[in-house]
Symmetry: C2
Subunit: 220 residues, 2 copies
């Protein structure tokens, strides 16, 4: 299952490895990523590593300061607001024009089921990734390769923000039922209502994130 990208250019494989470190929280926001240390750690040349850094910088996961190096991006209120603006645009837009028979709807339903099961088991990380799958499926409704790719980037950036949070239960758990409702609305061919529901979902999630960020920055 762990596709390590056999055959892909080294820089891409590297970027992927570092990305997983970033979204799994093993690298903290603001932390500096020394070229020497990382090229050593991954056993690649500095040049290859720099290519990977550039890719990740373009994805918004790293920040580059001239002559000072690259740093893990630090989520701010502004970035969270922006990210949720994007999500409202893409996810609500996808839902609004969704076709009742689209295969992605089954993926949405499956994600809801999975979230339910995980929640029942108290597996909050599992609930989180099922939730993730749900929203990816929503974007799939748009049938656009470019939108999918863009959403993936936004999604990774958001996961970086999750790293700041310590309370995954409170963050994802309440949303499972809303996902269910949204799925049902699409299944019964009421895309407008589904989009409206998604909008309230996202506004709520946004406020939750902002609140959490506020709490986190008070501590620091």
């Amino acid at each position: 299952m762990t596709d390590d990208g056999e055959g892909l250019p080294l820089a891409d494989r590297l970027a992927r490895r570092i990305r997983t470190l970033l979204i799994s929280g093993e690298l903290s926001p603001g932390q500096r990523l020394s070229e020497a240390a990382f090229s050593d750690r991954f056993d690649v040349s500095r040049n290859s590593l720099r290519e990977a850094f550039r890719l990740l910088t373009k994805d918004g996961l790293l920040r580059h300061e001239a002559n000072r190096g690259v740093f893990v991006a630090v989520p701010s209120m502004a970035s969270i607001i922006d990210i949720y603006r994007v999500r409202r645009m893409l996810e609500c837009g996808s839902l609004r024009q969704a076709w009742q028979q689209h295969p992605a709807i089954r993926a949405m339903r499956a994600a809801v089921e999975m979230a339910r099961e995980r929640r029942a088991e108290g597996d909050w990380i599992g609930v989180g990734s099922a939730n993730m799958m749900f929203h990816t499926a929503v974007i799939d409704l748009s049938d656009s390769a470019r939108l999918n790719e863009f959403y993936e980037r936004i999604s990774a950036e958001l996961r970086l923000c999750f790293g700041l949070l310590n309370d995954p239960e409170h963050l994802h758990s309440p949303f499972v039922d809303m996902n269910d409702a949204i799925t049902t609305l699409v299944e019964t061919n009421r895309p407008q209502e589904a989009a409206a529901q998604m909008e309230t979902y996202l506004n709520l999630a946004e406020r939750t994130m902002l609140k959490a960020l506020e709490r986190a920055s008070e501590l620091a």
Copy 2:
């Protein structure tokens, strides 16, 4: 005016220069970009050039084939359909939630005026760039840095498609009046109608592009 990106990393400046070549049509779709030739041409090392190539590949302007090199992306029907799907989502979405007093509306109006003037002078290239400015202003309505950046990427990809066309007058000129109408609708606080109008605009433009592509590929 020509911001050559003083202080930015070399790879970024390079990418920008090559991007200009691409969207101005000086490099043709499908053409191979030899590392040796280009690092020589721009007087930079192969390593730096490769970083730039990676950036542009991520933007969808270049295509990378393992051990074979990078090529200018060749627009296909699929890519045009996808691009217009994205444009409908972003531009209609921006309009739908537009606030009557948003400063970007003045930019839209200004772009319409400029397009009018250029058209009167028969300056079709000028009409094209004014049209471009109009749509960028529409995205500005969303107040999202990430959406703006994404749209810029999509926009560059579309300009690559324009390169296939030989008839800028027929391509842009008929749309000036629609832009005017859309702007008026937003100015008079009728965002829903503006979005609907934009949707017909984009469907029309999409069909025009597809038709042109078809003609172009018949010749080849």
